[in-house]
Symmetry: C2
Subunit: 347 residues, 2 copies
């Protein structure tokens, strides 16, 4: 299975190569990010998207932006490093993985002396963040793949695939591993209005990997489930509250209701970093409301309003199980207990 490489070092070095997701699926445009402006602009403009991928791109991009300054004395270089770090951190204020990655990068330089050693430490930490992200994806895939029988049809919503991570994705990771293990899988991808991550991104990356994919309007998923055409629903998560409620892309809840009604298992596949023990339930998560234009399409629409929440809440009762890099869980309390167990990553 050829899985797309969303964030990587450019072969000639000195730059981070990303896939410009704004151009998909019409064109596969790779962009090499060299300067601080390149990096911030790519993150701000959603050329790179998906919480894990943004964190990795921010860390690697910070390194690339500092490489031309290897000749600077340490004090001056440290100043520059902090300036670049804050600029990258601010490129997308709501993405939780970005400040997390930048903090890790700066922590890695705490006990290092000399510009060369600083750059080595930064590059090493960026590689570690990328490798951990890839390992996280593989673990999720490994823990979830046994849910997918040969010949299975899997329904997904939005894009929680390779394009959202540095590896094989989160919700799609079990699919990639199952296919890698020789099983035939068909993915049904909700187009995911209003931004069409399903038809633009999920369909593209799966087709490129040679995995059969069928796109449908979000409103058609219920009839597909009613027809018995789906064996398993796999979705990602932006946040999982302490009671197991799942905050994910708008439309997930409607799919969960239909899956529950028709007795089709729905699994949420997400990194452990998505678990939020300090938020009691989904009702406690503030939901971002986005621009009406995404719904109304820039048409005049005098007197026409729009309701455009970015996320919805799927209650734990509708979730058959959770797949993280630390295992598979049916019970939210077992899921959150896994936070105390040592990470399997990179062992």
């Amino acid at each position: 299975v050829h899985v797309v490489d969303t964030v990587s070092w450019a072969p000639e070095g000195g730059a981070v190569r990303i896939i410009d997701q704004r151009r998909l699926p019409e064109q596969l445009v790779e962009r090499d990010l060299r300067t601080l402006d390149d990096v911030c602009d790519a993150i701000r403009s959603l050329a790179v998207r998906g919480a894990p991928a943004i964190g990795v791109a921010g860390a690697m991009g910070l390194v690339a932006s500092l490489l031309p300054f290897a000749h600077e004395a340490e004090a001056r270089f440290r100043q520059r490093m902090h300036r670049h770090a804050e600029a990258v951190r601010a490129a997308r204020p709501t993405a939780v993985n970005l400040p997390w990655a930048i903090d890790r990068m700066l922590d890695a330089t705490a006990r290092v002396e000399g510009t060369g050693a600083l750059l080595d430490a930064l590059r090493g930490e960026a590689d570690a963040i990328r490798d951990e992200d890839r390992a996280m994806c593989e673990r999720i895939g490994g823990h979830g793949a046994s849910l997918i029988a040969d010949g299975a049809s899997v329904l997904t919503h939005c894009n929680a695939g390779a394009l959202a991570t540095a590896g094989i994705g989160t919700a799609l990771a079990p699919v990639y591993v199952a296919v890698r293990n020789g099983r035939a899988v068909r993915v049904y991808a909700d187009e995911t209005r209003p931004l069409l991550q399903g038809s633009r991104l999920t369909a593209w990356e799966l087709a490129r990997a040679g995995i059969p994919v069928t796109v449908l309007a979000d409103g058609a998923a219920a009839s597909l489930l009613a027809a018995g055409a789906i064996d398993l629903v796999l979705v990602g998560a932006d946040r999982i509250a302490a009671n197991g409620d799942v905050v994910n892309k708008i439309g997930t809840y409607a799919v969960a209701l239909a899956a529950g009604h028709h007795g089709v298992a729905l699994y949420v596949a997400a990194p452990t970093s998505t678990l939020d023990p300090r938020t009691p339930s989904g009702a406690d998560v503030p939901i971002e409301h986005r621009a009406p234009d995404e719904i109304l399409g820039g048409r005049p629409g005098e007197g026409v309003a729009a309701y455009n929440p970015a996320f919805d809440v799927t209650p734990a009762a509708l979730v058959t199980g959770y797949i993280t890099d630390r295992g598979r869980f049916t019970d939210p309390s077992a899921l959150f207990a896994s936070l105390a167990s040592p990470s399997e990553l990179l062992r």
Copy 2:
């Protein structure tokens, strides 16, 4: 309340004036249909759409296309009338109201002699079909309006409004009547992918009538219902099977599941002509599958398939009640018993 006039006689006579719905909501373009080609083309190209509106436009269009031939001798005129009638009937083969309207038109000429009398009979029958359609809409509105309290929020799917009929619509008729009676109503309109009848048509006609309307992605309806923001769901129907199952625009079933889950009443508002006693259940209705292009948007999408059913089936168990021109019914057997009672239309 100013409700848009979707099909009417052009003021100077001799033509049927329609709103070209392909141009909405960007532009309000009215087209006057004079020739047989005008009429067939408007129906075929979906410039006029919605089963009731198509029937009315076909009947009135047949008259308009024959007016220039009032000088022809009866035998020749009858030949022409049958030729035009068959052409109009074939313009949209699956629309059940079109052959029904054409049959009525031809029946009306059965015992008439002379070209002038034939034209009078045709014009009279076309007016009757239009007036009955308007009366049907008013009856539905009257039977449904009491469900809508002052300040209520109503969720609807697709367009079963004035733009789909010659009158005030079917699913939206109770809204228009409630507003006419002085009640404040807000309508939440699913955008209705893939063809966006909700954001293009429902939002436009309601805004034009001064009724507050909020458009949302289809996948967002469940979270709106979960939030308690909706008092009543009103949808139309393309066909109602003998057991009360409702065939309607794709996405209706997902809305019905969410409404049922959250205890929000869902009413199906449709003309009596939609009742199909010869079809035992929704499972017996063949579902039209439309072009993948509507989903994939003409993008290359190598290896990407589409699932694009035009309709889905909402089981009777999820329908709180039915509103037709003959009354309001909670039980499918009472609904179908109404077929035996005399029509209230035009009494």
